[in-house]
């Protein structure tokens, strides 16, 4: 909801002009009426209309600036005839009217050019920029005519105290936690300019190999193409540029040339996972020296030791890691940061970023659940053991071998039954790794149903697990862990539940089915319900604010903790979440830090402020009707290894698109770029 004087946003029509305030109708959209805490916005204009918050705003100037923006800011533009010239003419004509030299015929020309732009432009910018201008000409007709007939300059024409702050976005970009310029990297594929594609990705996503493989792609849920047929396979197209660089052994394709000389500013980063790598890259590019401290003997965090080889080959991930190294990042491995070190960092570095993730496996809350019980094996440790061996040849530590009764230096589950409790990506990794470790039987217990597990992971992930022989038992939970006479885990007592609809119309409830309990004999129980942050390293006297779920608290915009100069990003801030979420947070944090180390102030750029406003407003409109595109073109599906080819090895399952498939998929992309602008 927003208080507006006037709005045509997203099809609404609100005109409070000249009405007493108590009769004002509010907009039902979260329009940015307040730009920053202490700055009110005067108006907002975008692809879907415009809204006026301050009646004194000069709409003709607003429209002129909007048309100008199309020329000035938009790198995306210049790619089609109607957009390139039409956009210029829109601006020239608007400006002519605004400076008091307009003619009535100019309005007709504006409408004519707008019509062709809206029908034929290549991307949505060209198709949508005329929309709010036409709205203006219609609803502020008298204002226009006044300027034209009296050859009058528009009131704000020469004023310089109003800022017109513009931002290019797209539904997919808006949905992506790190706001990757998706239409640009897809266009790179479509145009067979794979270097441009990769550079576009890296503007806001340095882990192109990784997020071209294992991203849960929230962007695809907000892809406008879905309004027409099926969403674009956005994630997989990211691989094309990354593989292009790697396959041809190019030097790093940086979106902007890294600073040649380092500044004297230094930043400590705790954790070399996706968040740490991302921050190190974007700080390094800006000439800030980063020391990254990593507890593990390898770099990459959970993507290295959590995500299995068959989903994310380490050779590819190493390329992303090398990119972060290429900007002069210093990595210090095998070093667990503690409170004492943090205190030191506080003195020695200009800022510190905590990005240590969530590496404690949460319990399933069953009776007799003990960490030290042989056979009870936390998902994080289990995956560490599997991945360190598979990817790096690092054997299992002696103490783990002893506790888990392993006679080999790697995880060999021959003859064993494994039960995993979970339902998210981590649990999928556990069960599919167990299959690859040759387990006799692998069972996944999940409290909810099949539909939910697919929603929480992906359709492919679930079906591939089923194909590989994982047995899923839905609506079930462990009540008690049963041990044998030696104190080893022997069996589980499992309850069954059913979904009972709420007669009141609320959410259906899971209700235990009495008498349906059963026992499973097994060798291992691997809880993979969730993970928590290990906060032992935080100096107590800092009294850092935490969230109710035990992570570091920030405002979610600048990622500074309650202590000045101490930042947090990724899972240790948000709780266990996706790679792309960690990247997005770390990229923003790096941007804030890059200014903080020089000025001591916490600031966001206008680009970032607009990014946040647009996310609140939502760019994607599920109900919008798409025109100008041929519907019914199927989404391309990449080839996967057959179940027998993949089941007992760690070969990458998803073979990726062939170039033909990639190009065909890229051609489905509708380039839904939009421009939004706020007058402040």
């Amino acid at each position: 909801m927003a208080r507006v004087v006037f709005s045509t946003w997203r099809g609404e029509f609100i005109d409070n002009r000249g009405k007493p305030e108590e009769e004002w109708v509010e907009s039902e959209y979260k329009l940015p009426e307040r730009y920053e805490a202490d700055r009110d916005a005067k108006a907002f204009i975008g692809w879907d209309g415009f809204a006026v918050f301050d009646e004194s705003i000069d709409v003709v100037r607003l429209g002129t600036e909007y048309a100008h923006t199309y020329q000035k800011y938009s790198e995306a533009c210049g790619r089609c005839a109607p957009g390139r010239w039409g956009g210029r003419i829109l601006y020239d004509l608007m400006d002519k009217i605004a400076r008091g030299e307009g003619e009535v015929s100019d309005l007709e020309h504006l409408k004519e050019v707008s019509r062709t732009m809206m029908e034929t432009s290549k991307c949505e910018i060209g198709r949508t920029v005329p929309k709010p201008l036409l709205d203006m000409m219609e609803h502020y007709h008298d204002t226009f005519m006044d300027l034209i007939e009296n050859k009058k300059k528009s009131p704000d024409y020469d004023k310089e105290d109003i800022s017109y702050i513009a931002k290019v976005t797209a539904p997919c970009m808006d949905a992506c936690p790190t706001h990757v310029d998706i239409p640009a990297y897809i266009e790179g594929v479509r145009d067979l300019r794979y270097d441009d594609s990769l550079k576009a990705t890296r503007k806001s996503m340095p882990l192109a190999h990784t997020c071209g493989r294992v991203c849960p792609h929230p962007c695809e849920d907000e892809c406008r193409r879905a309004n027409l047929d099926e969403p674009i396979s956005i994630m997989e197209l990211k691989r094309i540029g990354a593989d292009y660089e790697t396959d041809r052994g190019f030097e790093w394709l940086h979106p902007e040339e890294p600073a040649k000389e380092k500044t004297d500013k230094r930043v400590a980063i705790v954790g070399a996972g996706p968040a740490g790598l991302t921050a190190a890259y974007y700080l390094g590019v800006r000439g800030i020296q980063c020391d990254v401290y990593e507890e593990l003997p390898v770099l990459g965090g959970e993507v290295a030791v959590g995500v299995p080889q068959y989903r994310m080959p380490i050779e590819k991930y190493n390329k992303d890691i090398e990119l972060a190294k290429s900007v002069g990042t210093n990595f210090i491995m095998n070093t667990k940061v503690d409170a004492e070190m943090l205190r030191k960092f506080d003195k020695e570095y200009d800022a510190t970023l905590l990005a240590f993730g969530t590496r404690l496996s949460k319990k399933v809350r069953a009776k007799n659940e003990r960490d030290d019980m042989p056979g009870y094996w936390g998902a994080i440790n289990f995956l560490d053991c599997v991945n360190l061996w598979v990817k790096y040849g690092i054997p299992i530590p002696q103490e783990v071998r002893e506790q888990q009764m392993l006679d080999k230096e790697y995880v060999d589950l021959t003859g064993k039954t494994v039960v995993c409790v979970g339902g998210g990506f981590t649990s999928m990794d556990v069960v599919r790794c167990s299959i690859r470790c040759n387990a006799d039987k692998v069972i996944m217990l999940y409290r909810r149903d099949e539909k939910t597990i697919i929603r929480n992971t992906t359709y492919e992930e679930y079906h591939e697990a089923v194909e590989e022989g994982v047995e899923f038992i839905f609506h079930s939970a462990v009540e008690e862990i049963i041990e044998d006479e030696n104190g080893r885990l022997k069996a589980l007592k499992v309850n069954r539940f059913e979904l009972v609809p709420d007669p009141g119309g609320g959410r259906p409830q899971l209700v235990k089915i009495e008498g349906a309990d059963f026992e499973i004999e097994c060798d291992y129980l691997i809880p993979a319900v969730s993970q928590a942050a290990d906060l032992g390293l935080l100096p107590e006297e800092w009294e850092l604010e935490l969230t109710s779920w035990g992570t570091l608290k920030t405002n979610g915009r600048d990622y500074m903790t309650s202590r000045k100069g101490l930042f947090a990003a990724g899972d240790c801030e948000y709780g266990p979440m996706t790679i792309v979420n960690a990247v997005g947070q770390a990229r923003r944090a790096a941007s804030v830090i890059s200014r903080f180390v020089h000025t001591g102030e916490i600031t966001l750029t206008d680009e970032e402020i607009m990014e946040d406003h647009l996310r609140r407003l939502r760019v994607y409109d599920k109900k919008e009707k798409v025109t100008g595109w041929l519907p019914g073109l199927p989404r391309q599906v990449s080839e996967k290894l057959g179940v027998d080819e993949r089941k007992y090895n760690n070969r990458e399952v998803n073979l990726g698109f062939t170039q033909e498939e990639a190009i065909a998929e890229a051609e489905r992309c509708m380039r839904c770029y939009y421009i939004a602008m706020t007058a402040v």
């Binding site: 790198e75 790619r79 039409g86 210029r88 003419i89 050019v113 100008g628 062939t658």
Partner: protein, 755 residues
């Protein structure tokens, strides 16, 4: 096939074709400004929008696929008005300088402005200063540019230089060199060819002639074995040149075919003579009467080769052509292993490949057309490209996925190792299976420097490829062990399902190899045709009797693509031609082209008259030029020799290799290319090994031919091999053309470059 309706007409389309492609094949017109047939749709002009039943809004026909049962309307008042508006926008601020624009009369903007009746300027925009850029062969006038992007696409997608890009910025968008201040590219000039307006121009042609004054002579490029299609564009100059036409430029049918810079800029290599030199002709006949040998090059037509063969049959001459001779032996050895008279590879199969191995050629300069087809495979199919050569080529880096360096001279060993890697397990002939099994890999790897890991990487990278091509270059064809190498190469075709393309070294090497019964060495009195001899027939104007150059002749060439393609007379030749000599010697035919239909059918040629050979381009068939040789059955012999001891080359080595745009004395005669200085390019390491410094003038002796070169250091090169050109050697060039390309020659410093 699927069926759709376009403007009420039933049209058939192949699956995957776009609406525009289907319409064009059916002869239905949809206007475009940015569409270029040979690249992916650019989609910038938006003129090709159409209406599709059931779809809301207008659909872009260049990009939208044709679907079964679809109903398309290509025109309506509303579509016309949008297209007209787009043309009005295109015309905004476009300079009205058609009178002095190179493109005038052949300009898409003019044509479409007319077509859509844009007779007034309703829209205007404030303009700003726009640059005029001028590079060596290519100029760019930003104010004329309509940003269709064709040049950028062709440069990246077909050529592979990726040398230009769009500087984005709405109305301020422009084309600029990519990553460099000035244009750095191989100067193919395709950007000029595809430009629909006068923005990308030939700096040489600028202000020389109007498009409508020029007469197009469709012909075949005479510089290399790709035999690309081109038009010589000529004009009569009135009294000044005694009504002799002159070639003003070369153009190509860029929608369907591609041309390199040598073809485009090296066109005026004709041999102008005042008239028939009867005395010289008499001497020539005398020479033929006493000659034992006719030695010639492969820069002749099939028909001339046929005349020489007839003369041999009648007079028992020895026919010597070194490069064709080697190629012929290579092909014969190949055929005994493959079981077919000709190899299976082609340029098309190369462009379609998803895995390519290039062995024994510096392909970027050796044969630009082959390189373009590799580029297309790389860009469109993400082809893995394994480039095996003693020298890395910096300019091939954006397509090569694996460079395998081997030691000079070890091509036989390398190919044997490759055969073992790629073919083991696929061979059902015991002898060959045994041969591969018994290979002494340790020795071959050690001597060739190609390790097991590298071969394993080749195998892995090609494992998923379904269409693999092997390109075998001149280093193999002119290798002392060429016949064995040929037989090894044939294994890939026979057992690997791999298309093999041995790149014919010279323009018509394949034609000569098939038509002439060649002898190895000259004996006795020798007539040299474009090569030194006791009596010299020369189209270079430096012999005893002048002969026409290839732009003054009609006839056919046989390209590396196994096609027989026609070429036509662009400029008249007033002297005697080979057929005149033959007629005087009793080998009679009215015209040279009477031999076209007599080319040997047992070699795969067809009995088709010159005038009946097709040469046209169409939307439904693309380039239709010449005919393809038939591949005939051939007797098989599955034996292979043991691998010979691999040679060792130590110290500084010279590699015979012309720079891009030069292919020998013909290109060097052309006015735009004659200024090029022959430079010996080597790495710093070579300079140290050969005790040379940048800028020294050196004398080298290769195979008995002495030449002087300026030495320059090329920082992109590595190792102790230098690139030594031979394009400036005139007739003597032929003496080296069949040698193994690497040599260890004496290099003597004779001074400094500016001396």
């Amino acid at each position: 096939m699927i069926t759709l309706t376009i403007d009420g007409r039933k049209v058939e389309a192949k699956k995957g074709e776009t609406i525009l492609q289907a319409a064009r094949r059916a002869g239905l017109y949809i206007p475009t400004m940015c569409y270029l047939t040979k690249v992916k749709p650019i989609a910038s002009c938006r003129l090709c929008v159409v209406e599709v039943e059931g779809a809301d809004g207008f659909i872009l026909s260049c990009q939208a696929p044709a679907l079964d049962g679809m109903e398309v309307r290509t025109n309506s008042p509303e579509l016309f008005s949008h297209r007209q508006n787009i043309m009005k926008l295109y015309d905004v601020n476009h300079p009205l300088e058609c009178g002095v624009c190179d493109k005038s009369g052949a300009c898409d903007l003019q044509n479409k402005t007319l077509e859509f009746g844009v007779d007034t300027q309703e829209f205007s925009a404030r303009d700003h200063k726009r640059d005029l850029r001028k590079w060596q062969f290519i100029g760019y006038d930003e104010s004329l540019c309509i940003l269709c992007e064709k040049c950028v696409h062709v440069c990246n997608e077909v050529i592979g230089d990726d040398a230009i890009e769009i500087h984005y910025g709405g109305y301020n968008s422009r084309i600029q060199p990519k990553g460099t201040e000035e244009l750095e590219c191989t100067n193919c000039g395709e950007c000029i060819a595809v430009c629909p307006v006068g923005a990308m121009i030939s700096t040489d042609f600028q202000y020389k002639a109007n498009a409508w004054e020029l007469e197009k002579i469709p012909a075949t490029c005479a510089h290399c074995s790709a035999g690309c299609a081109l038009n010589y564009e000529r004009k009569y100059e009135g009294a000044l040149e005694k009504n002799e036409p002159k070639i003003y430029r070369v153009t190509n049918e860029f929608e369907f075919s591609t041309l390199c810079g040598a073809g485009r800029f090296g066109y005026d290599f004709e041999n102008r003579v005042a008239g028939r030199d009867e005395a010289a002709f008499k001497k020539a006949l005398e020479a033929f009467r006493k000659a034992d040998t006719i030695r010639f090059t492969s820069r002749i037509t099939n028909e001339e080769a046929m005349i020489l063969q007839r003369l041999k049959e009648k007079y028992g001459y020895r026919l010597v052509n070194k490069d064709a001779g080697n190629y012929r032996k290579f092909l014969e050895a190949y055929a005994t292993m493959s079981g077919k008279s000709l190899f299976n590879g082609s340029l098309e199969s190369l462009a379609d490949a998803d895995g390519i191995i290039v062995l024994g050629t510096r392909i970027l300069t050796d044969n630009p057309a082959v390189r373009y087809h590799i580029t297309m495979a790389s860009k469109r199919h993400n082809a893995r490209v394994v480039y095996m050569h003693p020298m890395e080529d910096e300019e091939m880096k954006n397509v090569v996925t694996q460079f395998v360096k081997y030691e000079v001279g070890t091509e036989e060993g390398v190919l044997a190792l490759l055969a073992k890697t790629m073919l083991e397990g696929k061979i059902d002939v015991k002898k060959i299976e045994g041969f591969l099994k018994d290979l002494d890999e340790g020795y071959l790897s050690a001597e060739s420097n190609v390790g097991e890991e590298e071969l394993e990487a080749v195998k892995t990278s090609l494992a998923r490829c379904r269409r693999i091509a092997l390109v075998v270059g001149e280093d193999c064809i002119n290798h002392p062990r060429a016949t064995q190498i040929a037989r090894l190469a044939a294994l890939f075709e026979r057992f690997g399902g791999i298309s093999v393309l041995p790149v014919a070294p010279k323009t018509n090497s394949l034609g000569v190899a098939l038509i002439c019964d060649l002898d190895d060495e000259s004996e006795g009195y020798t007539i040299g045709y474009n090569t030194p001899g006791d009596f010299v027939l020369s189209s270079l104007g430096e012999g005893d009797l002048d002969m026409p150059a290839l732009n003054q002749q009609e006839g056919t060439f046989t390209t590396l693509n196994k096609r027989v393609v026609p070429t036509n007379v662009a400029l008249p030749f007033k002297g005697y031609v080979l057929n005149d000599i033959a007629n005087a010697l009793g080998v009679e035919a009215e015209f040279t082209i009477d031999y076209t239909e007599r080319l040997p059918k047992e070699k795969g040629f067809e009995a088709v008259r010159f005038d009946d050979i097709p040469y046209y381009f169409s939307n439904s068939e693309g380039e239709v030029r010449g005919y393809e040789l038939r591949r005939l059955k051939h007797g098989v012999d599955s034996s292979l020799e043991d691998i010979a001891e691999l040679p060792e080359f130590n110290g500084p080595i010279l590699y015979r290799c012309d720079p891009v745009l030069q292919f020998g004395p013909q290109t060097y005669r052309a006015s735009q290319l004659e200024g090029e200085e022959p430079v010996l390019y080597g790495a710093q390491q070579f300079a140290v090994a050969a005790k040379l410094q940048e800028g020294m003038r050196v004398r080298v002796n290769v195979g008995g031919v002495e030449m002087e070169r300026v030495f320059k250091i090329d920082p992109t090169l590595k190792g102790t091999i230098a690139l030594n050109p031979t394009f400036d050697l005139g007739l003597s060039e032929d003496l080296l053309s069949s040698n193994y390309r690497y040599s260890q020659s004496k290099i003597e410093v004779v001074g400094q470059a500016n001396e």
